[in-house]
Symmetry: C2
Subunit: 430 residues, 2 copies
Amino acid sequence: MKTGHRVLILGGGFGGLHATRALRRAPMDVTLIDRRNFHLFQPLLYQVATGSLSPGEIAAPLRGVLSRQKNTRVLLGEAVDIDPGARRVTLRDGGSFEYDSLIVATGSESHYFGHEEWREWAPSLKSVEEATAIRHRILYAFEAAERMTDAEERRAWLRFVIVGGGATGVELAGALSEIARHTLRNDFRVIRPEEAQILILDGAPRVLPGFPEDLSKKAERSLIRLGVRVRSGVQVMAIDAEGVTFRTRDGSERLAAKTVLWAGGVGASELGRKLAERTAAETDRAGRIKVNPDLTIPGYPDIRVVGDLALAFRPDGRPLPGVAQVAMQQGAYAAKAIARRLTGGKEPPPFRYSDQGDIAVIGRAAAVANLFGVHLWGYVAWLVWLFVHLMYLVSFRSRVLVFIQWGFQYFSFSRGARLITGGSPPKSGN
Amino acid sequence: MKTGHRVLILGGGFGGLHATRALRRAPMDVTLIDRRNFHLFQPLLYQVATGSLSPGEIAAPLRGVLSRQKNTRVLLGEAVDIDPGARRVTLRDGGSFEYDSLIVATGSESHYFGHEEWREWAPSLKSVEEATAIRHRILYAFEAAERMTDAEERRAWLRFVIVGGGATGVELAGALSEIARHTLRNDFRVIRPEEAQILILDGAPRVLPGFPEDLSKKAERSLIRLGVRVRSGVQVMAIDAEGVTFRTRDGSERLAAKTVLWAGGVGASELGRKLAERTAAETDRAGRIKVNPDLTIPGYPDIRVVGDLALAFRPDGRPLPGVAQVAMQQGAYAAKAIARRLTGGKEPPPFRYSDQGDIAVIGRAAAVANLFGVHLWGYVAWLVWLFVHLMYLVSFRSRVLVFIQWGFQYFSFSRGARLITGGSPPKSGN
């Protein structure tokens, strides 16, 4: 049965890709549109930024992933506007697509809370380009320090400040520590890379605020063991080329640092904001769209929002976090709800998140995990982390390549993808 | 014995790296300066451009490669001038280094024979950035073709013109054919990627002019079997956004093509030109510096030039080709000559190239090789190519990763690194 029902899916991340796959046997015309031609395994992007993996190893071309799904076409394009009345999506290049059902899965972007000017000095970690730019900065900082004759300048090049103590911030800090203490250990003749200072600044009272308190404590202790300093409960006031200023309980402090990385916060994608405007939907401070229990936008039963862009809730009223698990489940749910609606079946039950827990890696053989309420840490949690991340990589090829890269790294302490590429180096004092 | 003799090596390619390694037990202060922090295995760069490999898989960080070589330091910097009288090298950032012996191995750059404006429309394949930009263009062309409604526009997006029929041009053409006929076969819904037209334009009468004539013929036949058209003996007159114009024996022709790739020619690096100027050395049309039989510049026994930048000759007077083998042997020779000169040994015998032959791959299970005068082609030559290239990769990790990528590709016809990244897409008609 071919119904000709046109499902348009915007975004090929976890939400969009899982929605598309869930429609593989549906008698519909499915179109997936993404700005990029690949699905990116975001949770490992920090490993690209820290030289462990190459971008190609955590990306899978969307066309390749979906080539056998004959009811689906993939298009490279950036959706910039949605007309919910005419049921039409407009692309940046002027093209437009009509839909019968729409799934919006365009995710989130890094958000500087009104300080866009910080972006230049504190890059964030959302895209492949940003990850390679951060890799560039980190590696270049050691190179620059090696050439500095002034001790203070050298210290500023060897200080790395990470803004944000969530999973990304913790992962970056742990990886940076391993780079400084192991990977680059014998590589320099003037500086000692292990003297690098790595700091996490966070406004919350503890790192990994999404985790139970005992695991946050364990994570912080692991970080300290790795030489990472955690400054909790501080508020960043300024970031510039020479460092960062932040407010503490007792006043304010200034740290000279040539490398500041932003793991601070995310907000709705640009298209998400447009969609909220067009549908007069309610949003939270970050711009996430408040959706009905069936993930539709109030008043628009043909538009569903999934993943980071959706503000959905647990039965107890707490909002769902912006993680891959939620996006995947929402994507699959949205697809099934559309199929069911079309075949005239009864209304689907509300979306219910099946929480399998959280996991964050801190460094070599150190992680924390909260799985079905069981708290794990250290080596065991790290093994679980490894297993989970390898299994969720989309392509078998990626799984093998990443496994090998990790194996080499574990035994040799070396990192395979230590390339400084692209653009000119960051501004140097020399 | 520590002599304090300062050897400065400019460039960490095949020549510079082999020179540095050959000095690992020499009682000298060795400094290797490169613009990049990694050694790049150039012969496989076309596989990055065609989505088979990630840059990190064919690059090895110079510091890592040389970390145990305690007499050597590595610096990230770009040499911009040489003062042979003061024995001093100046870097772009203003720093300077004095030397007692200098090895210049800064290689070649792509050369547009006075038509710099072609660079924008016909990128060449010398750096990681250029390789990913070419990958971007190739993959984007198929995406754009999928969206075109005008048949002529679509044809222009599906036509790929490669200027130059040397090893790089032939390798690119073969890889492009495999992409169109196999990798992307089922990925599109509107276009048929196998209808892509791939052309090689070359001024020489045959492809692979460095090979014996029978192997050139075999290579051309393999290309034709892969659907590649070869236009020999033509001269490119213009390249712009819409295509390429070239002169044939009978007049001139215009081809509409959105993707033109430059595999046309190389010339001396900028520093090489500066060096020739400063030493009043003789150069050829491409700017290569004519060196003495011991690779020194006439009048400057403390400066040696190795690799693509050196114009050296075989005993029969033919110039040595700009290939990795020559650079590696020259690098090692230059290092040994310096060490011998220092210990007061007798003058080294002139550099003698030990020619192990040439090899070029055309596609899946097709290559041509001329090894010690034995002509090989087809599957056998291809196996030799695989083996040689895997063995010459600098790090063991790269060898394993590349081997696995190739294994996947051979059996699945798929390519792992099909990412369109960086910058905005090329100008599109839509």
